[in-house]
Amino acid sequence: MRSRAPGIAVWLLVAAVVLLAYLFAPRFISDFHSRELAGAGVFFIAIVGLNLLTGYTGQISLGHGALMAVGGYTTAALAVHEHWRDVWTIPLAGVAAGIVGFLIGLPALRLSGLYLALATFAFAIAIPSLLKKFSGLTGGSQGLRLLEDAPLQVTGLSGTVTIFGHTMTQNHFLYYLTWGIGLVGFLIAWLLVRGRVGRTFRAVRDSEVAAASVGINLAWTKTLAFALSGVYAGVAGSLLAIQVEIVNPLSFTFLLSILILVGVVVGGLGSLGGMILGALFVQYLPDLSTHVSTAEGAPDFIFGAAIIVVMLLLPTGVGGFLRRLARPLTTRLYLRP
């Protein structure tokens, strides 16, 4: 008989390690690097969300950068126009982007694979123009700057933040905030994926006809996935706005949507574990490329080449690779009497 105990013990151990790493990492790295890690955290959240959509229901979206824009601008607009505290806008930013995600999901029902990818691509392209047009709300091509127009709404303006009696630097606060939300989001995604929702998603991905024939409501499932991934992207966008204290159309171009998708695929579609590595890849690689060479064109060349090499070596992403590695191990764990 298979014993489930080793499986659960392993997962608890992993969870404990992750929790400890999260809580104590800032002690070991510089203040500035905490901030860089917070940036990776933003990608992490967006990537986990997109993975739910693309990895688990098989719908390709090239427009998640635009959903991040919705979240980021919601936060900035609420702070500047309605004087909300920056951190209290996060849930609303997620909801706003979730609604937009749902609205995208509706026409997506009629489009499949390629056409869906191109439709979301179109949305990503259109967003900067839309942001510039409605300049009363969005600040137009100059965007919104929290430090200049809403300094009182910025947490950590003085350089330190005090929570529950603990005082920490603003960078540490950003790190804890972002990865705290990231880990909670990851947990929620993990629970969803393990449960009925995840099975429904996978059924839709693997065969829509089969899924429909066992009574799964395709429309509801697919739009739910879009909405859910939208919420994640919106929260990520909001955290980005809080970190850099600005929003601008130039920060939400098609490149951002590509980076999120690259992060998902490199991390491994349908594999939550690889997502952290996907986020780190996307956060640090562009910067590393400029360190290798600053000759005109070289950073882009190196960045593209790195993406290609990773895809050639690990076509199913890091997550897929790890799963292949881990399979003999967990099989052994499960089959030992």
Binding site: I60, Y115, L118, A122, L130, A298, G304, I307
Partner: protein, 300 residues
């Protein structure tokens, strides 16, 4: 009311739309070609076309005559397309579609970066294959170059149709795209068919670049990026698996964007692109495979 309306301006904007759309059509055909023969959307198609344009410019700069440079560039680009397929796409042929898409995105940066590294970022120009003398008919202006560009796309569509329909190689290529496993069984060298598809698409891209550069009056490493967008939109509108659809879709898109931008005031120039994309989305909802596309069948 009818007399007060400026019909000449309307006709002029339509003609301009056809001219712009004609430029996008050349790249759209390359996109459709690669999709038809390999099932992949190549996000790097525009950058490859841009790279070919620089090769043409270098040849002209080194003393080659325009037409010698043209033919040589097409040949080099064909070889380049085949090489890219063998080196970078073949290893992921069997991988999930999304992996290949990411590879083409990586290729986008690689080709763009390479073009910036090899050639300085100055603005340059390429001679025009056709005359640019302004012609005016009933108060509406255009040039031979506009007609020539559209003619080239239509000629390419016709040539491709003939190739796929009447030659053994074309038949093998279609078979390889539709059902690679069965094709292997009847002796089709599937991987070489894919390489051929990439080569042809790259060659068409080279033609596109060499027509686009003079049509847009100058070029640099950013030449094809806006064009790629509109070419995608036009190809989707016409049906991503139909070369003729790509041309018609691009022409329609050009006219549509100009007319909306001219006559719908609140759209102006800011929202031309989003509105055009919204219209395409509308069309797709009614005809999900585009105007001329074949609806994809789902096998149970």
């Amino acid at each position: 009311m009818i007399l007060a309306f400026d019909w000449t301006q309307l006709a002029q904007q339509i003609v301009i739309g056809l001219a712009s759309g004609g430029v996008w059509a050349t790249l759209a055909v390359a996109l459709v070609l690669i999709y038809r023969s390999t099932g992949v959307i190549n996000f790097a198609q525009g950058e490859m076309a841009m790279f070919s344009t620089f090769i043409a410019w270098s040849l002209v700069n080194h003393g080659f005559s325009y037409w010698a440079a043209f033919v040589l560039t097409v040949a080099i680009s064909f070889a380049g397309g085949v090489a890219v397929e063998r080196a970078v796409i073949r290893p992921v042929e069997r991988a999930p579609v999304l992996t290949v898409v990411i590879v083409t995105l990586g290729l986008f940066f690689v080709v763009n970066g390479a073009a910036r590294w090899i050639w300085s970022p100055e603005t340059r120009s390429l001679p025009n294959a056709f005359s640019t003398r302004p012609i005016s008919v009933a108060g509406v202006a255009f040039s031979i170059s506009d007609l020539g560009t559209i003619a080239v796309s239509l000629a390419a569509v016709a040539l491709l149709w003939a190739f796929f329909r009447f030659t053994k190689l074309g038949l093998a290529s279609r078979a390889a795209a539709v059902n690679p496993d069965a094709s292997r069984l009847v002796g089709v060298r599937v991987t070489w068919m894919l390489a051929l598809g990439w080569g042809l698409a790259a060659a068409m891209g080279a033609v596109s670049g060499m027509l686009t550069a003079p049509a847009l009056a100058s070029f640099d490493q950013n030449l094809m990026q806006p064009v790629l967008l509109y070419a995608f939109a036009g190809a989707v509108l016409g049906g991503i698996d139909s070369p003729l659809g790509a041309v018609v879709g691009s022409l329609l898109l050009g006219v549509l964007i100009n007319l909306i931008g001219t006559y719908v005031n609140w759209v102006g120039t800011d929202l031309r692109l989003p509105v055009a994309l919204a219209v395409i989305l509308g069309v797709l909802l009614v005809r999900p495979a585009g105007l001329f596309g074949r609806p994809m069948e789902t096998r149970v």
